[in-house]
Structures are given as structure tokens and as C-alpha cells.
Symmetry: none
Subunit: 226 residues, 2 copies
DNA sequence: AAGTGTACTGAGAACAGTCTGAGACGCGGC
DNA sequence: GCCGCGTCTCAGACTGTTCTCAGTACACTT
């Protein structure tokens, strides 16, 4: 399921977009100000960002600029009340992938979103995007994990478990959820297998000094966080 | 230099776009009707297509539809006099990458064109031309490979495998992907053939001291990288 | 302090992925 | 025909991975 970050300071617009896009089958996360949006977007865990230009803290332009400067290439669809052509040209030159002028039709929005997601899907081999969580980098294309630039060798299953956790940072995943995400439909393994693999991961991450990343939430599951 | 196909039936618009985009440093080719446009676009030799919807012979929608059906994924920017939202949504759902409503600002057009070209540039590492990866040079035109200037003789299949790997540096390619890339659609060979050819390549690269370049990522595939 | 449920860990068996040598097959040149 | 070359399969050796089991450690409750 594709993940979309919606950034807008008006609660009405935010919830409308949230509901509408969720109904379209997307996984929606919202943010209402610039710094929050930037922090979320920098994880690289989104497939698309809907970014209002006029938001508190840090303008949409600046958020976009920072993202591109940090090497995050998630497609961005700018949203603005202004329809000045200069603004639009500026936004696109900053690295945006589309521009919508308020008030916009929801149909057009969805069509644009789908067009961008479709292209992204076609380009990535489906292997997924590069994830960052602080100093931790998880790169599905290269099947590599590193902490502070220090590479960590993982077996396929170990990688799958870590990937599942890192793609939902600060979220507790139960053992059953991890079995579903990292083992797939078969689910041939027991819950203990999850414990074992978390143990393997901790041991390997400990070597490079990142053992504290995987936290146990007793009675619930596991979580990674900054 | 990026190649752009401009499709519009009004001679005035066509020449204006031709001159304007040429001034922006692009290689522009024009077409005035649907069948001509489709024939040109199907060659796949363009980096971007500006496509008016209302053109003689075959509508822009149909041209786009045909292109996508034939597997040509060149980005398409639709141009239309209609600004109906339904039309816009339809166009985007057909596989367009953007939508401009006449009359449009030339600045906005250029910004959109640049945004699409930039992304395309970033996605494809450039096939067909000479590849370099550190000290390794792979020249598809000359079918030659060398390490630190030292030539390595490869059979056609060996070359295809190495080329596939080098054109996606730091990316793990599974055996199935390599079969698709280096063997083509037929896929007459088994996965073991890939292992055998990687072995051949390693042996030949080892002779010139580059045996370490091809790395096995157990359970995933193979990867070349620095 | 004892009891209970949960989480962690070491050992090891079964399994899957990888590498390699031997050899079959087809093709073009001599 | 015979040879060399390139392609590919097969089978065996080897190695890393996966997962369970059984025991231990820990935390929370009564």
C-alpha cells in the first residue's frame, strides 16, 4: 500500500484529504506545520507528499528545498492558493513534480496522485524506497543496512524484519504483524521465531553500536525509534 | 541533449513552442497530426512528449493510450483547450504525467518540462553509453571491458551479465532479474546459468585483479559496487 | 516470596542457496 | 570430420540460514 504524507495547516482540508485518499486505498499520514512535515518526510518512507505552501514554521518551498538538498527524492505535489505563474514555475524548479491551485477538484487531485504513484511504481522495481531513521539507513535496492555509514550484514529474513519495523517508525508492531509482514502469507513460523530474529538483529546492530534501536514493548511487540 | 516531441495542429503554437524550447536547449521535433505523432513516439527515442488533445487523425488521448499499450513509457504532458476536470482526470488516468490548459504561461510550461526531464534523468542511469564504475569501464558500443586500462575479453553472454549489473551499481539484482536483463524474454536458461556466468566473470576479472567487484548477496542475488 | 506469563538465548537439525567441475550440445572455421 | 568456442545443465560439496526446542532470565501480580 502506498504511503502519502499530507501537509496542510487547515484542519478541514487535512481531514477531507485524509478521508478521501484513505478511501482511495492509500495509507495517509498528516502534518500541519513545516518542521513536523520535514521530519516525517526526511525518513523517506513516503511514496508521495502533498505539500501546502503556506504552512506555519517553515514554508512548503523551504520544506521541499531541504528535502531535495538532503537527497530525498520522494515525489512532491505542491498545493497553493496563489495561482501566479511565477510561483508555479518556481515550485516546479525547486524539484516539485506537480502543482495544484486551490480550490482544486478532488478528482483531479486523485488523478494526479495516481499518475505520480504509477510512475514511481514503474521506475522502482517494486523493491521499495530507501529508508532513513536518524543514523540508520535501510536500502532495499542494495539490500544494505548501515548505522552511521557502518554497514551491517543481514540475512534475508533479518532484513525483512528490520525493514518492516523501520518502515513504521515509532509504531509498535506485534509479533503476529511482524510474522505477516516479514514472513508473508505462509506464516509457517512461530512467534518465537520473531523473538529469535529480533535477538539476531540486536546482536548485529550492537556490534556497530546501535543495539538500543530495537525496543521491546512488553505484552505488545517491538518498536524502532530515534 | 534531451529530445522533445511537440504535437499540435496549429502552426502558430507549433513554431512558438519549437523556438521557445529550442532556446531552452532542447532538441525539438514537431508533428501536426495523430498518426504522425504516434509513429514518431513509438520509436521511443524521445525524453518527453507535449501532446495536444485535439489533433487531426487520432486524438491525443488515443495516441497516449496506444503508446502506453505498446509499452512506451516516455513522459507525456497533455495540452488541452478544455479545462473540464473530468477530462483532466481521464487524461492523467490514461498515463499522462501532467496536464496544461490553454492558454498556458510559457514559464509554467518550461518549468513542467524541466521537472519531468529532471526526474527522468535521475531515474535512468543512461543506457547504451559507456559505463564507468571506479576503475571498471564497460563500453557497450565497442563490447569491451577493462579494469585500470587492462582489457578483459568476454563472451557475449558474459558481457550482457556484467553490463546489466554495472548499469545498476550498488543495486542487488536477483537471478530472475538477471535472466530477464541478460537473456531477454525467452528466458531459456535456468537460474543456475546465472551462477555459472557470474563464476566465469569472476574468474576473468580475477586475472586482472578485479575479482572482488562481483559480490554475492546470499538469498537475494548479485551486486557490483565500489 | 512465590507464582505466572512473557521475553531472551544457545544448541542443533533440517533446509536452501551457492559454487564448481564435468560434460553435452550446437555452431562456425579449417 | 575434427577442433575450438560459447552456452547451458547436472550433480555433488559446501556453507549460511531458518526455525524449533528447551532452558533461563526477567517483570509484573498476589
Amino acid at each position: 500500500m502506498s504511503r502519502v504524507l499530507v501537509v496542510d495547516d487547515e484542519p478541514g482540508v487535512r481531514t477531507a484529504l485524509d478521508r478521501g485518499l484513505t478511501a482511495e486505498g492509500l495509507d495517509v499520514v498528516t502534518a500541519s506545520d513545516g518542521p513536523t512535515a520535514l521530519r516525517a518526510a526526511l525518513t523517506g518512507s513516503f511514496d508521495l507528499i502533498l505539500l501546502d505552501i503556506i504552512i506555519p514554521g517553515l514554508s512548503g518551498y523551504r520544506v521541499l528545498q531541504q528535502l531535495r538538498a538532503e537527497g530525498v527524492d520522494t515525489p512532491v505535489l505542491l498545493i497553493s492558493a496563489k495561482d501566479g505563474e511565477v510561483d508555479q514555475a518556481d515550485g516546479l524548479d525547486l524539484g516539485a513534480d506537480g502543482y495544484l491551485v486551490k480550490p482544486f477538484s478532488f478528482m483531479v487531485l486523485v488523478a494526479q496522485v495516481r499518475a505520480l504513484l504509477r510512475r514511481r511504481e514503474a521506475e522502482r522495481g517494486g523493491s521499495g524506497r530507501r529508508l532513513r531513521l536518524g543514523e540508520l539507513v535501510v536500502d532495499p535496492a542494495a539490500r544494505q543496512v548501515s548505522w552511521r555509514g557502518c554497514p551491517v550484514e543481514l540475512s534475508p529474513r533479518e532484513f525483512a524484519v528490520l525493514h518492516a519495523l523501520v518502515s513504521r517508525p515509532d509504531t509498535v508492531l506485534s509479533k503476529d504483524e511482524l510474522l505477516r509482514l516479514a514472513w508473508g502469507g505462509e506464516q509457517a513460523a512461530s512467534r518465537n521465531a520473531v523473538e529469535v530474529y529480533v535477538g539476531y538483529l540486536r546482536r548485529k546492530l550492537e556490534v556497530v553500536g546501535a543495539g538500543h534501536l530495537l525496543r521491546t514493548v512488553r505484552g505488545h511487540g517491538y518498536r524502532v525509534g530515534a
